[in-house]
Point group: C2
Chain length 178, copies 2
DNA sequence: CTGGATAATGAGTCCTGACTCGACTTGTAC
DNA sequence: GTACAAGTCGAGTCAGGACTCATTATCCAG
């Protein structure tokens, strides 16, 4: 698909619907949800989904790309702790977040996918360290590891707001002085 | 199966083989590995596996029960930080550990499964607090949450030893003063 | 040694989910 | 308006995995 020709109007509409449906379905049931379910929720036949996204992975990749862009943008608006909190809360609601951070399965399709997020978090880390909010011994890899872990945990454990807060409090204390 | 009669000798041998094979297979490929693969590695026909464990979940439950007992025992031999470190290292190698901690799918079959582990960790936490190694504001739920999260993270992220250590260092610092 | 209970075997069933493709419908350029 | 490329449809194919069961093999009491 080398941008040969613009999509027909109805095709554009359907493509958008499919993406929205996929976003909702995968967020709710995880990446293991069936393509049929996506088609159903989009009000479209299964064949149409596969016309737009020849492979389930292509569909997943499209969703992840969207999500990633959102996260990077979000990172620009917060400090490290705020972003951390936001991400964990999001992961508790959207299974896709944890899947993305874990880079499970889809990573190949998004070459530098996590790269952008990593850079964004790197910036937040530097700021936080400059402000004296985080110890200088802390490095990016472990921050990313903590971020991914907390998202996985929040997802699988079904943490409520309070547990999220108490758990993050421990992490934040550890980042401050380590 | 109300313990009607002791198993025949060959049946006992096969049961043990199946359990060992299942342990290895699920540790390597996660709980999604097929029952066929277990049978293959046990050198046994598929029907035999289902004779001993009528359901894949039954097999999984048996493995998890074993694993859990090991972990609880291990907890008795270490302090909180040591156990934490051990568990994370184990999770990086055995997918079953993270699955167990996440309580995914199999939890119903192991009624108080995590209960025992929780108690054991609770004891470690008390000791650590008594020794002044962990702040008194820290409670059990967040310790369990951190434990489960780190295991998930170590598994999915494929952390090396160094990253494990650096990440845990942050957590430990957070537990000490929070 | 041998009969009958206990196990093992593995081809077959059923189901789910990704993906295909020929018949049909619709947007759009002219 | 019409032709035809672009899109849609959905029954159908295929693969993989859980689980069954009639047949065959194996243990072990007596």
């Amino acid at each position: 698909m080398v941008e040969g020709s613009p999509l027909r109007a109805d095709a554009q509409r359907n493509r958008a619907r499919i993406l929205d449906a996929a976003e909702a379905v995968f967020a709710e049931f995880g990446t293991r949800a069936s393509t049929e379910e996506v088609a159903r929720r989009a009000g479209v036949a299964i064949g149409t989904v596969f016309r737009h996204f020849p492979t389930k992975d292509d569909l997943l990749a499209a969703i992840m790309k969207r999500l990633l862009a959102q996260l990077v943008e979000e990172a620009g608006k917060r400090d490290l702790f705020g972003f951390f909190t936001h991400l964990v809360a999001l992961a508790a609601a959207k299974k896709t977040v944890a899947d993305l951070l874990a880079g499970s399965g889809v990573d190949i399709r998004l070459p530098d996918a996590l790269g952008h997020l990593k850079e964004a978090v790197g910036r937040l880390l530097k700021q936080a360290q400059a402000a004296g909010a985080v110890a200088h011994t802390v490095r990016l890899p472990e921050v990313m590891a903590l971020l991914a872990s907390m998202c996985q945990g929040a997802l699988h454990g079904g943490w409520d707001k309070q547990l999220q807060a108490r758990t993050l409090a421990v992490i934040f204390a550890g980042l401050k002085r380590d």
